[in-house]
Each structure stands twice: as C-alpha cells, then as structure tokens.
Symmetry: C2
Subunit: 559 residues, 2 copies
C-alpha cells in the first residue's frame, strides 16, 4: 500500500511548467495563447480557426459504471490515461469539464482528478478558473433581466407571465433560491410571478457554449433560446428580446478553450461543464475539436455512468459535432462493484468476491451498451488499497467472458507509471480502427420513439409511460420543426432504472416521462424522468466551513 | 472643433504595449505580474508586501461638481491628468475604480474614460475584466447560502428570520430582484422570508475589499460582517457561520490590483468599485498604496460630486488607510454649470454666460469644502466643443476671486497635449507641500454628531432630523464599541441637499436620516437620507439591445 498525501498537498508540490511551454509542445505560438496567470491560458480564436481542415487524432471516451458513494474516479482515470499515453511516447491531449464552484462548498471539495493523476493549478481550476462560468451566469441573467424589463415597459411581445420558462442562474449550492415569488414592492419593481434559480451548470447557456462550433454559431443558438410562451402558446425567443448579441459578447472569452497541464506536465483542455442529466454532460465541442487537431490521441470523459453520460456523448455531442470516437474505457472500482452487488458502504473494505461477481452485471450492461454504438471497449479497474487479488481477478474473468480486457490501473498512487498497460491497450484498440460509430437512433425518428429507443436499448426498460399532454407536446414540437433534435433524458445516475436504489442490472422496468422541455438553442429535447434537482443544497456541515488559508497562506479544505 | 470618433473606435485603434513593458516601467518584475491576456495583469502579493516601507509619491484627488445629465468627465480627466503628468516628464500612476457590469447594459455604456483619455483594453475593462466583481458576487452569495443553510439545518445560532440584513448580490441592473419572498416550495427548500438582491457594487464585500490592507485584514473584516440579529437584538456575524475563511479564499485574486494602460501607454491601476453613496466610492486601498510606492504622483478619483465622493475619500478612505492627499482637482464643465444655473438640457448648446455665473455657486461651494480638509485645489474645465470663450472666462474669473485657478483642458479631444497646463499646476500645488490634511471630524465624536458635522460643514444643512429609533440605534452601537467608526452618508448625488432637483448651492435645508446601517466589516456606519436604490433597473431600450459583434467581429454598443 502506497501512502498518498491529500490531493491538494500533491497539487501544491507540482512542478508546473510555464503554460507557454505546454502550448509550444502542441505547436501553439505564444501569441495565440491568452495567459491567465503563468499556468493557465486560453487558445485564441484565430489559432482555432486556422486549424480547420487538418487531420484529426483518435478520440477516446472515458466513461464508468453507475456511480456509487464508493467513488469511481472517472476524471482521475481520464487524466491518468492521458499521462500514460504520453509516457509510452504518444502525443496525447486530455479534455475535461470545468468543475462547478457551487459543489466545491458542499460535500464535494474539488474536481480536478485525484492522487497523482490531477490537472493543475488545482485551486484555480476549482475556484474561478478563467471566469467561464461567471460569464455564463452573467449572460444567463442578462437575458432574465431583459425579460422582466420588457414586461415592465409594456410587454410588447405579449409574454404570458405564467409561462416564462427562463429562470435565473447562480453558481452556488443554494436551495433557498429554488422557488420564490417576486418582484414584490409595487409598481416600480415590476409584476410579481413565480420563478427561481438553477445552478449555472444547469443553464441552457452552458449547454449552448459546449455545443457551439464558434462565436457565430453561439450567437445564433443564443437567439434560438425559448424564454417562454404567449397565451396562444407561441414561443418567445431570446432573439425577440434582442438579447442574443450582448449575451454573445459576454461569452466571447468563455468560448475559448482553457489549456492547463497535468502533474506530469502533459496538456489538458478544461472547458465547459454542462449538467449530465438535463444537459449532455461533456466538455466543449470547441475544446475537443482543437485537441483532435493538436494530438494524436484525445482522452475525454462523459458525465455520470455510461447509461447517462456515454449515451449523451454519442447521441448528442458526437452526432451534432460530427465526431467519431475510436475507443471507450469503462472505469470500475472493486468497491463500487461490491455496492452494485449488494454490499453496504461500511462493509466495503472486507473481501467479498461473490459480491464483486454479482456487481459485474452492472459493468457488463455498460460494456454491451457501448458496443451498440460500434465502439470497442476496455475496462479500467481503478485500484484502491483495499482491493484483493481475488476480487480483481473476478472482474478480469467476467470481462474476458464478454471478450473485453479489464486492466488494473494504479495511476492514483503512481501516476502514469501505474497505467501503462491500459495506455498500450487503448492505443491497440484505437489503432485497430475497428470502431464504426453510429448513434443509437436516426434524426428522423419521432421524438417519443427516440425516448423509447434509449429506454429500451440502454436502460433495458420494459415500457415508457407519459401523460397525453407530454406526448401532445412532443407532437406539437415536431410540427414546429423540432422533430429532428436528439433527446436528452434526465434520469437518476445511480441506476439503469428511474429508481436510484435499484442497483446492478435491472430490466423490464417502467420509465415514466413526467415532463418534456425544448432547449431550442442547445438543440435537444429534455425528457425528465423522476425527481431532478437543478439547484443543489449544502449539507449540514458544508465544506465551505473548512475552506480557508492556513498559517503558510495556502488554501485548505479543497480536496 | 475637433472631430473625435466614438470611444470604442478610439480604444480599438490603441497601440497597446505588452503589459509586462508597462510593469517594467514601474519596476515590477515580470514574475510579479500575473497576466490576464497580454494587456492586463495583477500585481503579486509578494511584490506588494516587499514594497512596504519605501517613500510615497504625492496623492492627487480628482473630484467634481454635482453631476448632471450633461456629464462632467471625472474619469476622463483623471486619465487625462495622468497622461499629462507623464507628458511633462513626471512619473505618474493613475488609480481608477473598476466599472460595474450591470450599468453597461443600461444607459451608461462603458466607463473607462472617454475620447483620447481612456484606459484600455476598454472592452475587457467594461465586461468581465479580471473577474474581481464576479469573485465578490460569489463571496457575497456564499455567505447568503450559508445563512439559509444554517437555518435549514436547525438554526443553532437562533437567527431571527425577520432580522436577516444580508441580502444576495448580482452584477446586473435587474429591478425584478429587488424584493421577493422565498424560499417557497415546502420543507426541502427551507423557511420563507422576505429578501432580495443588491447590485454587486453595493455589497459590503466590495467595500471591505476596497478598504482591506491585505488578505489577513480582509479575512478579519469578512468575519466582522453582521448578517442579522437574534430576537434579543444581539448581532450574528459571518464568523459565527464560519463563512469568513472560504469568502477570503474566493477573494484571493480579487485582492490583487489590476494594472492596465492608458491610450498613451501610461500605467493605470483599475481596482475595486464600491457604490459612492451607501459605500465610500473609491478604488482599493491596496491599489492606491501600491501606486504611491511606484509613482511620484498618483492621480485618483472619488465617486459622484465632491460633497459625496471627496468627503468619503477624505473621511473614510484617507482616515482609515492613513493617506494624506497633496492636492485636489475639481472637474467642471460649462454645460453642467449652466444646468446648475437653471438651463434645461435641451438649451445647453446656446451661449449663456449669466447661467454659467449662477451655476458657479455650486463649484465655489465644493472648492470651499475641499479646503476645509486642508487640501489645495485647482479647477479643471473639461472642454466641450459648444463652450464659448466668454463662458470659460466667466469660470476663470469666478475661481480667481476664490484664489483658485481654473484651467481649460482639452484631453478628451487631444489627449495629454490638451492638459499640460493642468499638469504643471497640479505639480506646483502638490510640490508646494501646502496641504495639511485633516479629516472633518474626530473618531471620538458621537455618531450622530458626525452626521451633523458633515451635514453642516459640507451639505450646509440647517438641521439633521431623525426618529428616536435611529438615534437610539446609534447610541446602542456606541455602547457596543462601534462609536469610533466614520459615517458614510447616502444622499442624492444631484444636490447638496436631499432633494435632487435643488441645484446650485442650497443652504439651510433639513437632512432627514431615515435609516442607519452598521457595516461592521467595512468599518463605517451608513446613514440613509432620502430614497437610495441599491439595485438599478434597465431603461425602456437598454444598451444591451445594441451591444453585439459587428461584421468585422468587433464589439459594438459599448461607448
């Protein structure tokens, strides 16, 4: 067992190189890097525009089994694999999502990898970073202010106050903002209505920024946002309020991908971070495209488990951006497999091969699902010190029976030296060119059938149920020309079903679609199943109480 | 008459130098500049700490007559004077406030000077700049979230829900956020109460950041914030919620002064921007102190007219930071003097010497007031093309009779070449060492008498009236140990009185103190007279509708 210091202690002792050196390795001239301090930079739009047309590297997706409180280490494995590929002599670039500020003050601490597989500067990345999320918050709330201001000055667009769907956004875990009535205070403040705030990662502006190909596309999509409806149910767009131009201006720097480095000085783009249930949960298309031009291998991650994250990565991001992944890695831990096999969190440190074998059903389901998209798979077993050899062997045997290799990875404790085997295997899979990517469903399929297809093929549900109003809404959108959009299903991340307690590999369950939302700017239809919170709360004893400067002037409490 | 292009057109054609060159001129090593792009940088805390002990340059305050819709150009004159001083061979540094994002989308457009006296990059400075205001918003709202979260989990501190004074903040003009009731939605969202948002510049966190001497002082002041009261009226502090540490961490970069340049490549710190009525309205102490170590002359501005801005600059900022100004410039325009002399805005282009002479009463009052602080004064007549020679002459004669020089300045149209005379005069005044700065009142004076002193000496009021509850509150604070604090009077900026329509130099009026607030973290007591809005609204046709990228990809609509 290796004794590993805390994430923030490791990050603090990192031997960072100047960000211009990291950029130089990728062939980005100094003038095309917009520095934010000495260890972060954005890539200029001029450079990005000049990259179009060149050959692309191979795209590797890192996804995972259903998450459990035991932790899977998907970001950690993404960073570790990037380092591992560089270690074996490949030119690899990592693409991650930016962490959200709000959850840092809750239970989560930081989100920039862990152990010896991190991106740095860890503190900056977890706090304000290059200000992208603040810019998104501002653009979102400018639109909100313009809506109420329009109504205040006479409501020329005839917006129905009861049907305004655009809320406000804040990058904070603050349950008290979920639902309120305002403006109160009389004539000079406006017309009272029910409204509330979502966390910034849940904003459609975030999803738009992550899917837009450039500033022009961004502005067009911002204009396409539906902010609400009139009494006759016709949609009112952000464009109608003339908000799209100023919103795009607010986002001009946020659109540029952020370059940082791993602890091993390898390049990583950290850009965008949409919610992985009511949005598509992947880093920006701009960053992924740039990385593909600059690297021979690009390692990226998708949110939550493969049922939510990988499906959306394939069906929304890859479909819309014309990306074609070459291989996928499914991250699993012995501890999480044991939980999927029925073991309580408190008993995870005891060897339990039978539980691991039972839990492998969850892993197997995800492997099968990814193969349906035509992508070759390898399993990464993210090593914990309590794992026993027999438990690891059980996973290897299980995977082998599915024709898939499962490789033990020790990047958390050892950095790239601990993940060489996975790196070689990923190169083998990607270079084999056996991938033949195809989305799960065609653009032409009716919206409800798209939902049914995902539920049947990925969640293995027996049936999708929905009120007539939901089905009619989908039909109405088809009539309005939105039928070609992909669907983005918001479902609990803990289970293939809509019941978060149903672990393992349930099948034949019922998926109830409670509500559908049209994100016309982002370009997908959200189908909400079960309870989805778009504004988290803080726990009884939030991490914020422990985040502070220590005597040496270092930040404590981010982990 | 000179034909001057729009501010943004001028800014766009600026020949900017790399920010490292600007820093080098001030003796700041490259490693101590934290770049934000190639034309903005923060100065490292290590460098700032190393500057303590050296000699200080001379501090020049730029203030103005009461503002009118005609415009005075205080920031423009501050920038112009800095350029002018450099032009005549002096080592001068400019200190400005950061513009607030919200008003940029209202009527105001940008706020980084104008004409050929601007700081650049104008677009960045007016939009997100280096993220300081976003960091302040986050720190403010983290505290708010921790308050409601504390109550949600049992309210161990016994906070009275009706007496929570800490609201939320957003850097947006959004009247719909002024007043609301929430959280609604039942048990899982918390306990409903009346609350609302202020614009970020009105946040006490902003005032604290601008008055704190370093990160330790910042954290102490954040802990001292009073968030509300218990039923027994005892105060609850941010420290009680353990919010101070995380708030300070969020503000660690925001505390570092921002270095930019003028159109003429002279150094300017642009840092902090507290409201000039419910807060003290000056740039940060950290920036001013740094500039004084680095420059022989430091030109800075205070908010609104001298009755509000200069008084607070002297009585709050200089008193608390131990600064001793060497000279003051009062900016006036012929147009604004005419309005103070009774001319309507639509008639300002016609010559009217008599109205100018009448309006000079306002100028004279401000000159007298500044002299009460022991500071020598010069008047800058900020030239407009419609000004006539006779009108200008009237102001010079008026000032001469008060023993003060009034100098015509053409920096807006001509840059530093148009402001040499003022620069020479300012050097003469400052080098004469005739200044003997003293605040208007002693720390020991009771709080209500401090208010009376400002009202009598500066506003020339006949009487200050206040309900018994207000007087009792002040007495209670004195008993709690807050009696030594200075007062920060929130009053309309348009008049010496509390009636915005009373222009010129009214006297003998009544100042009603409607409410007092204790900003224990910032370290002053706010006395509110008349109606003070802490969250602006947008106009019928907000500037946001016209801000967008043009065909060439440049930002239009900021001006």
């Amino acid at each position: 067992m290796v004794d590993v210091p805390s994430d923030i202690e490791i990050a603090r002792t990192a031997h960072k190189k100047p960000i211009f050196d990291i950029g130089q390795r990728l062939g980005i001239p100094q003038a095309d890097l917009v520095p934010y301090g000495h260890d972060k930079a954005k890539v200029s739009s001029q450079f990005l525009a000049g990259q179009k047309g060149g050959p692309d590297g191979r795209l590797i997706l890192v996804t995972a089994i259903n998450p459990t409180p035991a932790g899977e280490g998907k970001t950690t494995t993404t960073v570790g694999l990037g380092d591992g590929l560089n270690r074996i002599g490949k030119r690899a670039v990592i693409c991650l999502r930016e962490p959200s500020l709000g959850p840092c003050f809750g239970v989560k601490g930081g989100a920039a990898g862990g152990g010896y597989a991190q991106v740095v500067p860890m503190e900056d990345i977890n706090l304000h970073f290059t200000g992208d999320f603040h810019a998104i918050t501002s653009a979102h709330n400018l639109l909100a202010a313009m809506i109420d201001n329009h109504i205040y000055w006479g409501n020329g667009l005839d917006i129905d106050l009861r049907r305004i769907t655009w809320r406000r956004a804040m990058d904070m875990n603050d349950r008290a903002l979920r639902q309120s009535v305002g403006p109160l205070g009389g004539v000079s403040n406006g017309f009272p209505r029910e409204t509330g705030f979502d966390i910034t990662v849940a904003s459609e502006v975030m999803a738009i920024l992550c899917l837009a190909s450039d500033l022009q596309d961004l502005e067009r999509r911002l204009g396409d946002i539906i902010i609400g409806y009139r009494r006759d149910r016709s949609a009112v767009f952000a464009r109608d309020l003339k908000a799209d131009g100023a919103m795009a201006v607010l986002l001009k720097d946020a659109m540029l991908p952020n370059l940082v480095q791993t602890l091993e000085n390898n390049p990583a783009f950290v850009h965008g971070g949409p919610f992985a249930n009511i949005a598509h949960g992947c880093n920006s298309v701009v960053a992924t495209r740039a990385a593909l031009k600059l690297g021979d291998y690009v390692v990226t991650e998708a949110g939550f488990g493969a049922d939510l994250g990988a499906e959306k990565f394939f069906d929304i991001k890859c479909r819309k951006a014309g990306l074609s992944p070459a291989a996928a890695v499914v991250v699993a831990t012995i501890r999480a497999l044991k939980m999927n096999g029925g073991v309580a969190k408190s008993d995870l440190s005891q060897e339990n091969v039978a539980a691991v074998q039972r839990g492998c059903a969850n892993l197997g389901r995800h492997i099968e699902n990814i193969q349906k998209f035509g992508i070759p798979v390898v399993v990464a077993i993210n090593h914990f010190s309590s794992d026993t050899l027999s438990e690891v062997e059980a996973v290897r045997v299980y995977a082998q029976n599915l024709g898939v290799e499962a490789i033990l990875c020790r990047h958390w404790a050892e950095g790239s030296a601990g993940i060489e085997d996975l790196a070689y295997k990923v190169v083998e899979l990607a270079d084999s060119e056996t991938a033949s990517f195809q989305p799960l469903y065609a653009d032409e399929l009716p919206l409800f059938e798209k939902i049914e297809t995902v539920a049947r093929e990925i969640y293995r549900a027996g049936e999708v149920v929905a009120d007539r109003s939901v089905r009619e809404q989908l039909t109405a959108w088809e009539a309005q020309g939105y039928g070609h959009l992909p669907v983005c299903i918001a479902k609990t991340q803990y289970s293939f079903s809509t019941d978060p307690t149903l672990l393992g590999a349930p099948k034949g369950h019922v998926v109830p679609v409670r509500e559908v939302r049209l994100n016309a700017g982002a370009g997908f239809v959200v189908a909400i199943t079960g309870e989805i919170r778009t504004m988290p709360g803080l726990p009884r004893s939030p991490a914020a109480e422990r985040i502070r400067f220590n005597q040496a002037g270092h930040v404590e409490g981010l982990f």
